[in-house]
Symmetry: C3
Subunit: 373 residues, 3 copies
């Protein structure tokens, strides 16, 4: 159901300041996250191995944590190192610990085999720590399976109908634009879409001076396993030749989203919307944060309804349209990796894949709801 041997975004750094003990469920496991006195992010199973009390209502002591039911003390590896009133500590008294690591203002957790956890494999999104790009980190909780959110992000067609008045701008976007290319990658996909000589969508209009000028709009979406989405958006003055590389007067955005399963029916959604033009005018990122949140709430509304529908009828078989190519590829890829992981095989290393320019697949394969969802 979930891929374990990969890094998941588990929270924003600011959630652990001032010694906070954060209990957060990741892949249906309740985990206690905290930053020890040493500065290290520590992730322990949030359940004392003695009587099952949550460690998160315990007490941090340096890098250790004490269960406040009977006082057992655990070190960052999960080993019990003190039992009040008892001298000998059985070596079986341990709680599970998880590899954790801080990067890009997020802390990440590895749910699979600790021997395979290499922080260097955390996804590369260089603009996230480039001071030229500004934005405000935020969070949404979804009552829906993570794949429904990934589906949603895989599909620009919904922009026109779900987000007509916020992120999309017009229903025309759905009728007149098509993906220039859908690239199937070994770890996800890349989609590019151009919309020439259109009106600026509402979220962008709010933060630019010449609100009525026509724009050439380019979106490049990149979805990577297990659920990291980046959308590189560019708005250039219409007719200036942006499609040929002239970015004069263009304004750009980097939409970074981290989709981490909480349970099979609920999801953590961390996001930040970066822009490269606000300079010192922080009202721009504040306005963009609000616009994006408004758009996300439109998605959340419809995605949570979808989850209810799927729950209500487990036999319901989704039917494909042309716009589903990226999401079908993603689900199939992920499904294969989960299967390989279960069978103890190593997934193929990430490699370049040929571009595929047909948005409609030759043989219509069934969406892999059965396999993954």
């Amino acid at each position: 159901m979930f891929l374990n041997n990969c890094w998941y975004a588990a929270g924003w750094d600011y959630e652990l300041i001032d010694g906070r003990m954060l209990s957060r469920t990741i892949l249906e496991k309740k985990i206690l996250f905290y930053r020890g006195d040493s500065g290290k992010v520590i992730a322990l199973e949030d359940r004392c191995c003695h009587r099952g009390a949550p460690l998160s209502i315990g007490r941090r002591e340096g890098d250790d944590v004490r269960c406040m039911y009977h006082g057992l003390l655990f070190d960052p590896s999960g080993k019990c190192i003190q039992i009040p009133g008892q001298e000998k500590i059985p070596p079986t008294l341990t709680v599970r610990s998880f590899p954790a690591h801080g990067k890009y203002g997020l802390f990440w957790v590895w749910m699979g085999d600790p021997a395979k956890a290499d922080p260097d494999n955390i996804i590369d999104l260089p603009y996230m720590d480039n001071p030229m790009w500004k934005g405000i980190p935020d969070y949404l909780h979804y009552d829906a399976n993570y794949l429904l959110i990934i589906d949603n992000l895989s599909d620009f067609a919904h922009l026109a109908f779900v987000h007509t008045n916020t992120l999309g701008g017009s229903e025309e976007y759905a009728f007149v634009t098509k993906p220039v290319s859908v690239e199937r990658l070994d770890d996800g996909f890349r989609v590019e879409r151009w919309h020439m000589n259109g009106d600026a969508p509402p979220f962008h209009r709010k933060v630019i001076p010449n609100k009525n000028d026509k724009v050439d709009r380019r979106n490049i979406g990149h979805m990577r396993i297990p659920g990291v989405f980046s959308l590189e958006s560019m708005f250039a003055p219409a007719g200036n030749g942006a499609e040929k590389g002239n970015l004069e007067g263009a304004r750009e955005y980097r939409n970074c989203q981290f989709i981490t399963p909480e349970t099979r029916k609920t999801t953590h959604f961390f996001h930040i919307y970066l822009n490269n033009f606000e300079g010192d005018d922080h009202n721009i990122s504040r306005s963009l944060r609000d616009s994006l949140m408004e758009g996300f709430m439109e998605d959340k509304h419809i995605i949570e309804y979808q989850q209810e529908m799927l729950d209500a009828d487990p036999d319901f078989e989704l039917k494909q349209i042309a716009a589903d190519v990226p999401l079908s590829h993603f689900r199939q890829t992920l499904s294969k990796m989960i299967e390989d992981e279960r069978n103890g095989q190593t997934s193929p290393s990430v490699q370049a894949t040929p571009r595929i320019h047909d948005p409609v697949p030759g043989g219509a394969r069934k969406p892999s709801r059965e396999a993954v969802f």
Copy 2:
């Protein structure tokens, strides 16, 4: 569990005015009801066949409806007739449509084989569109299986205890009256009960001038499959010979109730209480509506408790008393029809049945909770 090949009341006409898109679950299927520009009532499965989004949060366009997730457009037959950005529409892109029809201020839906749906078979209750009879349509939602509500209505014995101070009037009613006859019909039953020289019950007292005059009271209840109840009540001056046909000075009521399963544990209850004497004094139907609602709430209270009891112990076996004859007959008849429908047999056409005057059945058959409920 449910009979499919029959007409169910699905809502009151006024619920669809002004283009409203109504999502209502009938027999555990979520259905979108709306009145198209053509005036026709349309009933479609409330779930887009593409990604499962509810059509009821979509947009009506004439007689069609557009899913507002990716913009697919469906006609009243459930066929997808437009996909934005895609020219060819696969013929499998359909949602289920249900026969629907307006009658008596209600719209009705047929959940079974559309080929068998004939609006002429909708139940006949002529006073419902006779302007002499006045009343206010209303609705209640029950957290209980529909058969528990039908049981309740099948049984005048409960009037005395549940409705002592509202619809019943006195506990004496239970001790001194007996059904004059219980007629078992092929599609339900008919019960008649007389109570001579009694006090007018509270709901009636409120709307008549001579509140303390004794009355002869006659109730004829008629319950028909799948769950339509009509109660014809008559209150005549005591001793005037109403039982011999003299209806001088009598006031009459027609209590029409439509019990439609929402799920196996919840029920729609549409009702209207008609009187033949208010003329232009609409306060009479307003008062009656309130009295009835008060009585229904007494029923709802006890019926929902019953449901909880049955849920809590699936092995609980109900025990019969004499007053259960009608409800047992109804459950057995319905159970047989559901079984026949499953086996592909046609139910026998409705025909006259011999009257049965013994209210206690010779061989006590077990109530058919196992079979139907």
Copy 3:
């Protein structure tokens, strides 16, 4: 899962005054309790055998109860003795009745074989009706299995960490004290623990004049099947030789707790905290009641979390520490009695058991979660 052939505390006498019909679930059975005109406490299955309506929303008539759905009347043995409108009453129309008895201001119920119910076997706690001991009866509802509460009470180690600022007084208590003895009994266990020359814990400080005097503290806990806990606490001036029997200046408490399963995941918790020194100053028992309640809420918080943890992962295996000896013995004893009851064997009569002074068991037996919980 539950022991049936034993007396359970079912409520406080004051809950049944003024003819109150109390519906309370005991061992997953919904029971109607009431005091009849004869003064007898009556316990009947709270479900009419006819259509399943709750008898607790019916009407008491002397020692009988009438179902207010169709008017059936039941006597204290559960026999139906009247059906309105029907002369002959089938002998199968009965509801189950349970032996019930009042003692110590509580009413008790016997859920097993009525032939074995002897009120003389209700537990002996003589101070509960000795006027020298004063206290206020109270109640808590737990969303947790009863054994988790018994575990909690079996273990003084938690006093130091859960109740540092209320009942415990200091974390030192956990490190420096050890049970003087753990006695395994045939019907539970007895634990004794001394703490010399310590500070008075907060709940005690509040009700004594010399708040800063050091005290010698002795706790004797006694847990008996199915779930009756008594804690005899004594606070003597430090160094006076209380451990050798000099109780001059000592103040004593009797903490009586009655843990009765409501369902497998919820529990009734009746309690009273008696003191022997308040005389006419009722503020002392009021203050103690509040202090205890504050402490119980600390337990409830952690125990209900524990329940959530166990629910979330049925495979979780609790690991033992030395302090678990009493609770392990209790669970094993109870588990054996439940098994014997199922197999139709009589449990061995209660008899004296040898004292066992080793708090750590030789062979670490697995806690019996599997068998009982």
